[in-house]
C-alpha cells in the first residue's frame, strides 16, 4: 500500500536538514519513522516533505565526550542503544527502558530521540532520561540550544521544541552513571503494548550517593518526575516508601482510556513506588 503523497530528501548534514525545513515549512524530520509513518497512514499528520536524518554521520553514533558525558545521536536506533557497552555499564536503567519499547523489529528502526519527540505520556525512554538528568541538543532555524529533558515535555504529543528544530543528540552526564534501580511497567501484554502505568525508582550509588529518583509514565499528560517523593526517600530510605507512594499517587494526573481507568492507574502508582523502593532495599542488602 502506498502512503499519501509526499516528497523525500536525505540530508547529509544537520545544517542541510534545517535549511531544507526552512525552504518547506510543513516538512517533517524522519528518523526511524515508526511513529511518523503510522501517523501519516491514519491521516493524523500529512507532511509534504520528509527530511531523512539517518544519512547524517554525526547523528548516527554514540560517543563518549572528553569530559566523560555520553552523547547519543538522533539516528541511533533503540536496539543499538540497549546493546551499547557503555550504556549497559553506566546507564542500565536507560538500556532497560529502551528494550521496553515495542518489539525487537521495531527497535531496529525506532530511535530514542524519536520516542521523546513523539512525546507520548507513555514514552518508556523518557522516564529514564528524566531520572538521569539528560539534556537534549536542538538545532533550528534560529540556532542551536540545549534543553533539559525536565523542560522538554509540555503535553501529550507536545514538546518545547520550536518549529523546525531538530533534536540532534541527547547527552547523559557522567555524574548520572551511578543511578541504579528498577522500571516497573504494567501493560495488557508484555510485548508491543504501551505502558498502562510505568514507575521508575532509582537511587544513586555514585556521585551524591543515597539520592533518589521517582519517575512516572502513562499517568499524566507528560512523563513526570516526583521530586517530593524523591526527597521523602532521600530522608528516610525504604522506611519512607508508604509516604513516598502516597505523594506519588497525589502527584499523578491519570486519565481513563482503553488501557486502564484513572483510579486503577493511581492505585498502581502507589503499589509500584512501594515495590520499587523495596527493590532498592534488597539491592543494597
Amino acid at each position: 500500500m502506498l502512503l499519501s503523497r509526499f516528497e523525500y530528501a536525505a540530508a547529509r548534514t544537520v545544517e542541510e536538514a534545517v535549511s531544507r525545513w526552512g525552504e518547506s515549512p510543513g516538512a517533517a524530520y524522519l528518523a526511524g519513522g515508526t511513529d511518523l509513518l503510522t501517523q501519516m497512514r491514519i491521516g493524523k499528520r500529512a507532511p509534504r516533505l520528509l527530511i531523512d536524518i539517518k544519512r547524517i554521520d554525526d547523528l548516527s553514533a554514540i560517543r563518549e565526550r572528553t569530559n566523560g558525558d555520553l552523547s547519543i545521536g538522533a539516528a541511533v536506533p533503540l536496539a543499538a542503544i540497549a546493546e551499547h557497552p557503555i550504556v549497559r555499564e553506566r546507564y542500565p536503567l536507560l538500556a532497560e527502558c529502551c528494550t521496553r519499547v515495542g518489539a525487537r523489529p521495531l527497535r531496529s528502526r525506532a530511535t530514542m530521540i524519536g520516542n521523546i519527540c513523539n512525546a507520548s505520556p507513555a514514552a518508556d525512554t523518557a522516564v529514564a532520561l528524566l531520572a538521569l538528568d539528560a539534556e537534549a541538543a536542538a538545532c533550528g532555524p534560529s540556532g542551536s540550544r540545549a534543553i533539559r529533558i525536565a523542560d522538554f515535555f509540555t503535553g501529550p504529543g507536545e514538546t518545547s521544541l520550536l518549529p523546525g528544530e531538530l533534536v540532534t543528540e541527547v547527552v547523559l552526564p557522567l555524574a548520572a552513571s551511578g543511578w541504579r534501580g528498577a522500571y516497573f511497567r504494567l501493560s495488557r501484554r508484555r510485548g508491543m503494548d504501551l505502558a498502562t502505568v510505568g514507575v521508575l525508582v532509582a537511587r544513586s550509588n555514585g556521585e551524591d550517593p543515597g539520592r533518589h529518583r521517582v519517575a512516572l509514565a502513562s499517568v499524566a499528560p507528560t512523563p513526570l518526575r516526583v521530586p517530593e517523593a524523591e526527597a521523602c526517600l532521600d530522608r528516610n530510605g525504604a522506611a519512607a516508601a508508604p509516604r513516598a507512594a502516597e505523594i506519588a499517587r497525589e502527584a499523578c494526573r491519570p486519565i481513563t482510556d482503553l488501557r486502564g481507568t484513572a483510579a486503577y492507574r493511581r492505585e498502581m502508582v502507589g503499589v509500584l513506588v512501594r515495590r520499587g523502593a523495596a527493590a532498592l532495599d534488597r539491592r543494597t542488602k
Binding site: 502506498l2 523525500y8 519513522g33 509513518l37 503510522t38 518489539a103 525487537r104 528502526r109
Partner: protein
Amino acid sequence: MTEHTITLRVNGLEESRTVPSNQTLLSFLRDTLDLTGAKEGCGEGECGSCIVLVDDKPVNSCLMLAVEADGCSVTTIEGIGDASRLHPLQSAFLAHTAVQCGFCTPGMILAGLALLRENPSPTEAEIRSALSGNLCRCTGYRQIIDAVLAAAAAMRGEAARAPEEKTG
C-alpha cells in the same frame, strides 16, 4: 512527486530500480519485485507479518520506505530456503505444525532467524520476547516456540528432537 533511484541487494542479488517517495519497502518487495512472502497484516508495525531482515536486522517493512533501503542488503523468506532445500527453521515449523494459515509464518521465521543469529542458544523466554512483535491467529504460539527451539538445536548441530518426544 519525486522519484528516486535506489540500488540494494535483495536475497543476494543487486537490484536497481526507480521508486516513488511514498512506496514502502514492503510494497517494493511485493509489488515491484514480486516477492510476496512478506505480508501486510496491520500496516502499523503491530503484527510482524511484514518482517524482513535489513542489513541482518529484523525490521517491519511496512514502516520503512523503499527509498530508505538504498544501499542496504535485504533478506526475505524467499532468500533463506526453498521447497527443495528448506532452512532448518522452515523444516522445524513443518515438523512442529507451527504453520496453519501461513500468513504470519514468513515474519515469524525471519524474526526467529534474526534471534538465532545473535543468540544460537536462546531460552524459551528469549524466544517469546524476540517473537513478541509477531501475531499468529491460528496456532496459539506453543508450536511456533517449540519449532524455534528445535531449529536452534538443529543449527547448533545437535540432533533434532521429534515433537512427539516432548509430550508426557
